[in-house]
Amino acid sequence: MTEITPRQFEDFEVSCAVGVGTDAFCLGIEDGGIRFFNERWEPIFGMKQAVMSGEAINGVAVLGQFVAATSRDDVWIWTLPRDGGKKVFGAHFPVGAHGIITSTNGYFVAPLGLQGMMLCKPKEGEAHGVTITGGNPQVYVYWVVSQQAPDGQHLLACALRRQGVGVLDFADGEGNKTLHTKTFSGLDVVDLCTVGPRDHSASAVAMGRDGTLILFDDIREAVNPPTIKFKSVEGTAYRVLSAGGYLFVLTSKALHAISGLLDGFGKGQPPQQESPILTIPMEAVDAEVAHDRWVLVTMPSGILVLDIAKLKEAEKPDKPRWDRRTATTLSPKWHSGSVQSIDRNGALQDAMSATN
């Protein structure tokens, strides 16, 4: 397939892959290190121990000169030197995370499972203030995305596993917040993604572990959001990603590129029932969109880089690999709820320096 380029790395085993900055990439490594690459995949910078636990990196995010790395055992935020020096300073938070993202208002946000979320707005030369937002009753935050609605409201939308989808009005500053939740019986939300420019959209797609897709035109307001399932999407669902007009669904069996489903999304139009789907069988570990141009697929060995522009070329009618599939519409009985956040504040601990 011309749209996919495999990349192997002889001296390390990749655990995750993300885009950083405007055109660079970062690979997380199974032994706790991270490696940065430029747009031509030439190495530019690395840290042998981005998390001191030595656990596999499951998330990397960059805010200015701050680099955050997470594993199932710890969260580290590193301050990189501005002057080209080699000394970096790290701050440590000793709780496991499922990954980390940057928010539209300049925070690192890490989903911590039963602990809730870690929120940190890093400041140079100071201890990083950190807020742990849990819930009462307790919620399980498995993944989180950040977006700014067209009216300017900053939102955090969460995959809460069996508690469904949660939405939080995420303004700067402290104070208790309310997480508004939606779920239905049997739903197990493992991932969600924003649709459209994340600084001007309240649209999102959530995905159940069985591949059920929930389409939120405005994630704040949907009462009975369109809920569909493609029969051809089989296996355990891992990731749902949106880029280039496609919805990408990664399962334990394949990567699916779904075309046209999101046309009219955010404009109040219902989703298309029939969509061309390209199914690429693979045993992938994880996937992430980078720079709206690439899908970085982490494999048991190395990564696959899918070029979305080339995928568009491959979708022309004379290309036989795309199948038209009709989605089954589900009519679940939705339940809404609210969870009051409980904030616990502290400073990231154990500031240290490390030369890598």
Binding site: E55, N58, S71, D74, V95, G96, A97, G113, L114, G346
Partner: protein, 146 residues
């Protein structure tokens, strides 16, 4: 729970006895890990028996295992945990176990030295004996569902 919380048979390899701990079947506090209700007692024991059979153990003798059904890992716990942990039991004392997630959930203020997560070597061992694939090992290693 039935009237007899102990499994009728010992494990195949080490002849370990196994107790279905009420604490991990809804009798404990809300924060105690719980087995999912639709997992039969026989399946719970099977997970333990497989852990012992394949010697999926850490340095302290604690056993770990998963339940692989047709290539997919079944949820074992009410928080969607897919790995079970069986703390070491002295000779003659029945073992017990509970589902454990691969992520350390211990908050800093109540961290007590336990990581509440299986060691990386456990996942390597599960792959080595064929109970999980490389993909599943890497997912669990990252703290993700497999």
């Amino acid at each position: 729970m039935g009237s007899d919380p102990e499994h009728s048979e010992p494990t195949r390899r080490s002849k370990y006895r196994y107790l279905f701990s009420p604490k991990h079947h809804g009798g404990g506090s809300p924060t105690d890990a719980r087995w999912v209700e639709d997992l039969s007692r026989n399946d719970e024991f099977y997970v333990f028996d497989e852990a012992d059979w394949h010697e999926v153990a850490d340095g302290g003798g604690w056993l770990y295992c998963v339940l692989n059904e047709a290539g997919e890992l079944r949820d074992l716990g009410t928080w969607d945990q897919q790995v079970a942990e069986f703390p070491y039991a002295r000779e003659g004392v029945p073992w017990h176990g509970y589902p454990i997630w691969a992520v350390n959930h211990t908050a800093p203020e109540n961290r007590n030295g336990e990581n509440m997560r299986p060691a990386k070597a456990i996942f390597a061992r599960l792959e080595e004996v064929g109970l999980i694939t490389a993909r599943q090992r890497k997912r669990l290693w990252k703290g993700k569902h497999a």
